[in-house]
């Protein structure tokens, strides 16, 4: 199994995500710089990390979404590779059109940095298979632009198709229908604002995020 983490100028969760991938896969992910135009041909899992890519210039994730490497990410997603975008990575995925909607400034205007309770809405996806539907988990969030927005028709479609993977169980940032994470149509791309990679080992104080990564590996093993 081959994994990769994309690195933009201003990414700051890339190494945390790399540690999470290595912890569950046993192999170091390839670290792919934003100017690279190619990913390993047999790539199975791509992480788009949190941070402040390109200093959040223009809009969060806007510049990163147009960087050369994202074309390669879109191609890999097309052929079924798993793509996990966390925080700024979620913003990059919406800006690049791999996921619908947009992430607006938090409704309260404040940067929110704390643990939040989430409900696992869809436990059938590759990303959430190790959780139970309706289960409450706690991940940290740390963002200024996490207020998910999409028109009503898009929101209805996401809900109807089971593509709301995670929902905030409390008010966090004003997100439409409390959406914290969504899947693409084919279920192999997940964007989420909370940080599962920050809660994978006992030293983190919580391990709620670990099963997300374990489920992914399990899915890849059974798919191979």
């Amino acid at each position: 199994m081959r994994s990769a983490v994309i690195v933009f100028p201003g990414s700051n969760c890339d190494r945390d995500l790399a540690v999470a991938f290595e912890t569950v896969t046993g192999a170091k992910p390839a670290m792919i710089w934003h100017r690279d135009t190619d990913l390993p041909a047999d790539i199975d899992l791509i992480g788009v990390p949190g941070g402040f890519s390109y200093g959040d210039y223009l809009r969060s994730g806007a510049m990163a979404a147009r960087s050369p490497v994202m074309q390669a990410v879109a191609k890999a997603a097309d052929r079924g590779a798993y793509v996990l975008g966390i925080c700024n990575g979620f913003q990059v995925l919406t800006e690049s059109g791999l996921l619908p909607g947009a992430l607006l400034r938090n409704a309260g205007g404040h940067f929110v940095c704390r643990d939040v309770a989430l409900t696992v809405e869809n436990a059938q996806s590759a990303f959430t298979s190790r959780y139970d539907a309706g289960e409450t988990v706690t991940y940290p969030v740390a963002h200024h632009d996490g207020n998910y927005f999409a028109d009503a028709a898009t929101l209805d479609r996401l809900e109807g198709e089971g593509r709301v993977a995670l929902r905030y169980a409390e008010g966090v940032n004003g997100s439409a229908r409390n959406i914290a994470g969504i899947l693409n149509e084919t279920g192999n791309v997940l964007g989420m604002m909370p940080h599962p990679e920050r809660v994978i080992e006992a030293a983190h104080g919580k391990t709620d995020g670990r099963r997300l990564f374990e489920g992914l590996v399990e899915g890849l093993m059974t798919r191979a």
């Binding site: 809009r59 800006e95 938090n106 409704a107």
Partner: protein, 77 residues
Amino acid sequence: MKARIFVTLKGGVLDPQGKAIHHALEGLGFGGVNDVRAGKLIELDLADGTSDEDIDAMCRKLLANTVIENYRIEKVA
């Protein structure tokens, strides 16, 4: 040739920045401000003969996120 691109949030899209500006104006004692919406102005210095289609494509592909924003192009001689 120069063009000014005005990027504004669509109606119904929450604008916390506009709200904060509104509160600050009220704090300064300015009454009668019903609402404030903040946007962006992007000035482009373009080669003469740049087509309208190209300028529009720049807006659609990068300068504005049309999920949440509108844009208006103003060409300056």
